[in-house]
């Protein structure tokens, strides 16, 4: 029964489902990587046959889970352009941004090779912990948030899913950031890239 339902699903929905699940894990890993919470707040798990961290605190887990699963309908429609994990200081000025740039081929209509997709996504989870050298040390009292960038703003009145998303208070950098790529993949129908954004040296507040 379950298998049947899956087969009936469009490849986009299927991809989005896998992607959202992956994002939840990846974002948790990023938060772990940045050491914003004590390491005791996480526990080791295995996902896609790679060692990952899982948040133990229910609130943290819920936040990440609800954020990414809230994106599901929009990813399915191909509305989401980027998902950012932004670390910012007390003045709401971002210090480091992890960007997942994603593109789901909306016209792809053959079956999704779940194994191939997972294999590619797995490489992100493996690459992430070794990319720590690229990241910046965070000051104390840092906060973080998950921000999604849409191709076009969803109509809040029409879909209930959009209501949970609010405009962010986080400030923007005034100059274009510098980018450090971490991982990219292109497997039909998903093209996913993870890269870091840091304020450029000419940024006034940095």
């Amino acid at each position: 029964m379950v298998m049947e339902r899956r087969e009936n699903q469009s490849p986009q929905n299927e991809t989005a489902r896998i992607l959202v699940e992956f994002l939840e894990v990846a974002i948790t890993s990023i938060v772990f990587l940045k050491g914003i919470y004590p390491s005791g707040a996480f526990e080791r798990r295995r996902y896609m046959n790679a060692v990952v961290q899982r948040a133990r605190h229910p609130q943290l887990r819920d936040y990440i889970h609800s954020a990414v699963s809230g994106l599901l309908p929009f990813i399915q429609k191909g509305l989401v352009e980027r998902v950012a994990v932004i670390f910012f200081n007390v003045d709401n000025i971002p210090i480091e941004r992890f960007i997942f740039k994603l593109a789901v081929n909306q016209s792809y209509d053959s079956k999704v090779e779940e194994a191939a997709l997972e294999f590619s996504l797995r490489s992100f989870l493996i690459k992430l912990p070794v990319s720590e050298t690229l990241t910046k040390a965070l000051p104390r009292d840092c906060r973080w948030e998950i921000t999604a960038y849409f191709h076009s703003l969803p109509d809040a009145s029409r879909s209930k899913d959009a209501e949970v998303w609010i405009p962010t208070d986080t400030k923007q950098w005034q100059t274009p950031p510098v980018i450090s790529p971490i991982k990219s993949m292109t497997t039909e129908p998903l093209c996913l890239q993870l890269y870091l954004e840091h304020p450029s040296s000419s940024e006034p507040n940095s």
Binding site: T175, P176, P189, C191, Y195
Partner: protein, 1158 residues
Amino acid sequence: MSLNSSRSANSGERSKRSLNSTSSNPSNNSGKKRKTGNQKTLGMAWGSNSRSSSRSSFRNSPFSDFGSYMVEKNRKLQNQFDAGASSSSHSALSSGKPIFHGVSVFVDGFTIPSSQELRGYMMRHGGHFENYFSRHRVTHIICSNLPDSKIKNLRSFSGGLPVVKPTWVLDSVAANKLLSWIPYQLDQLANETRNQPKLSAFFALKSIPVFEDAVTHTTYPLVPETEDSVFKGGTSKDAVSSEGGQYLEYTRQSSGEIDDHQCENTNETIIEKPFSNDEKSSEIKMEEQSFSNQEEECSIKNELQSSPHRPSASVSSYYLDNARKESSSTTVVGCSNKGHSTLEDPNFVENYFKYSRLHFIGTWRNRYQKRFPRLSNEFKHTSSDLNASGVSQKNVIIHMDMDCFFVSVVIRNNPELQDKPVAVCHSNNPKGTAEISSANYPARDYGVKAGIFVRDAKALCPHLVIFPYNFEAYEEAVSCDEAFLEVMDSKEGDPELLASIIRKEIFETTGCTASAGIAGNLLMARLATRSAKPNGQCYIPVDKVDDYLHQLPIKALPGIGHVLEEKLRRRKVHTCGQLRMISKESLQRDFGTKTGDMLWNYCRGVDNRVVGVIQESKSIGAEVNWGVRFNDLKDSRHFLVNLCKEVTLRLKGCGVQGRTFTLKMKKRRKDAGEPAKYMGCGDCENLSHSMTVPLATDDVDVIQRIATQLFGFFHIDVKDIRGIGLQVSRLENADTAKQGHQRISIRSWLTSAPATNEELCKTSCLVRKERAVADGEKQSTDISLGQLSNDSKRPSLQMSPSSSNNEAPLNQVSELPALCDLDMGVLESLPPELLSEINDMYAGKLSDFIRKRKGKNENVSGTMCTTSYEIYEGAINNGKQLHCSIVPIRKTPVENKVEKTLDREIATENSLLQSSEVEKVKQYKIDEIQEVSVSGAVSLNVVDPASALEKSDLMPSSLSQVDISVLQQLPKEMWVDILEQLPVHRKPEHSSSAALDPLIANAQESLCFKHTENNSKSVDSVLGNNLWIGNPPQWVDKFKVSNCLLLNILAEMYYRSGSTGCLSSILQCTLSKFLLPLDASSDGWDETISSLCDLLKQYIKIKIESDIEEIYVCFRLLKRFTMKSKLFLEAYNVVFPYLQASAGENYGGSLQLSHAKE
């Protein structure tokens, strides 16, 4: 909120009464009479006070609840109103669209005239009258007075709708057009200090389109009438008699009226403006490209219509420069009746710049340069000569400056004001906070000076006469208000004498006075003018400079503004003498090298600038900091679009295109209140974002897209935006850029699916058209071909239609290009979503096509290619007859059959249809055949040249279809032959490799998606992303045969690294295997670098969007190469900016290639 709830039950009765009142007064058609009848209306209550009682009384009624009762009641009232309207709206017939079309009013409380009368007006002039307030139906709320509570809570009261005084309705009726309601807004609200909430409350989104709509519709119908009255006069009766008596009468009446008004206007014009003549005005028009004709025309009508009715007609007539060119009357006076913020005025940007003094001054130089390009060039030339010949020569510089220029022009036109205090300002409102921009000397004696508010000026000098700007007159008068002249001491006699001659001449020609400063350099001349004013001249010889400067306040020096002055004051520096005490080093340390240098020089009277050197402007842009208020994203978008238009016009006006776009934003500080200056920007944070595109552009669409993208970077509340500016820098001359190609390739960069898609369609149409034109040229030969092919027993339909049908292109334009016409390279480089869209357009055939073609491409053996070359070659050498014999060989039997049957079909249709239509049908069928042949017979699509042969004609019908890379690989004689065979407009030169240029240009125009670096002459780079196409990619073979060792190694590494096509693995492999220095061979250095650069650039282009990691790895590796190899270093340096530009394009940032931690 219970705005929708009931009033008392007598409303039905009242509306009946109003019906009576209108019918009893049918003569009141013109609506000009202002009735102040007995007010017995009770006013419309808002509250829900009767709710409970009514609810109880309806309990037994057939209505299930209160809501349904109200719905029913509203419906009935509506019907009554409509019935009344249809019986009483005569005037609506006469002017096409009635005045109040789209306006729906709700009257609140006691009004004069009464709500019933207002209702009557609305009824007669096409408006609507709502008895109950509804946010969805009502567009304007009319009332004379509001209780305090409602003012305090305006939004909930008005639902964001405009609250207007009833005189608005009366005046609109009197003016016979829908006036802007802004001047009529309720005093209580207009005087309110909290501007922003009020304004935003007023401009609910929906009221804007209504307003716009109404204005345009009310102005247009008058156009024919005006013409009638002018040209036909009395004969109009005959012309429109069929339209019915009433209409006729009104037309005559109104046209007569308008005729009169027009005469009046022109008369006034003649009296008031003796200076303006036709020639001048047309000249100005040509320069002022920024205002579209249509708009102008429209507003002239507007003006004709409205100005005579305005109470201030006598004043406004002054501004009516000339009925033809002037388009500003309504808006200049607009301080009283035109929208001022971005919210209310849909053409805000345009109007803003139309009436901006700074803009006028700022753009003057561009106009001037355009007008006298030769002059300035010559001047430049001579001045550079001067520099070369003798710096030591002692020159004198004269600085001429018009005295209070803006006012002088006014006074010139109004000699009676000669000795009265006069000022020029936007607004004449005595309470206003508009800034005086210029005041004459009598006014200055009162303390009125530039920059102070009108209300202060009025306080200082109550009889001050204030005029608005009159830019046309300024242009006529002198075109600019200051100039520098460099006079060589040796040639002319006394520079003072010369200056006085010039001043005299200026006065005689323009009627305005000028002052002159004479000194050894620009700085001193300008300072001298300062002391010379008004109407005098001053000479500062070199030996007096020190004395002059000693007591001069530093503020007087150009380049010292408030900030710098304040900084210096803190150091106790007030005069130039004190400034001189500070050492240059200290100045440079404190103020930066440039500013420090400037200060040091200026306070010593040193100025090394040269007269007449026209600086190329480094950036062009437009900025609006006044009146910028937005309610939501839509407003700001609209504003941005208009700003982009303005910037585009300026770019075009200067004939340049830019690469870097900077969007500046003024954001209200959190704690900043409403600024003192009305609608000013107040205390703001300045933010900016910029973006660089690889190709310069002045295309409005592209700029709009970029601006929108940039706008997206600021995540700020649009309500806090107080100013927006768009600046374009990295300017390039527009002529050097190839317009067509450039425009489209930039678009492909900014990938927004629908737009690009549209572009693609256009492009393909273009290709088609080109082909069709070429076909037309080939007509005669093709006909013979067609015959020949008949001989060879092949029904060659392809020939005949394309050769004989000149209408074909028209039919084809809307069709999709045949699949085989699509270029694989282009398709491959398209983003997947775009591809899928195109695929849909082809009903899914495209993906099949691509798949098969790809597969085929891989299987193609070298021999296959050579055979097709051979065939091709043979065809060319042996003349066209051979083509026919090739065809049957290469077409599959299946396809032939299809064609035959189709042919038969066509033949039968032939007998039925007209010949031209048959041709269309044929064309269509052939397209079908092509599609069939492509999807059915894949073997035909071998490689590019072969596919070119595949098209309906044997020869590609134009160069655009030829694959240049293939052509290039052919022996030179052969491609020369091919070029000769193909219909091109220009005959290419045979000798040099540059011969390919026209061909390439052609190809690009049609293929359009091949992005190239700007102005690059190199054939390789122009070839787009061909290098990475194929398996192995083309570059491998190309590099293999190269005579450069390095390139050979790279080609070899391709295979050694496992033929993955991944540049990073190739580089990795190269790095690990070759430790020896790579620059061994020095010959062909440049060529090697350019090949390498092309390889890298094309790779970036392919990968940047989907795989930044790969690019990143490649460049990190390349960086390691650069340490070993100068060649790589050079190539790296060439490509690096391109890389960063591409990264900026796709990711809005630059790639970080080095990390501090390493």
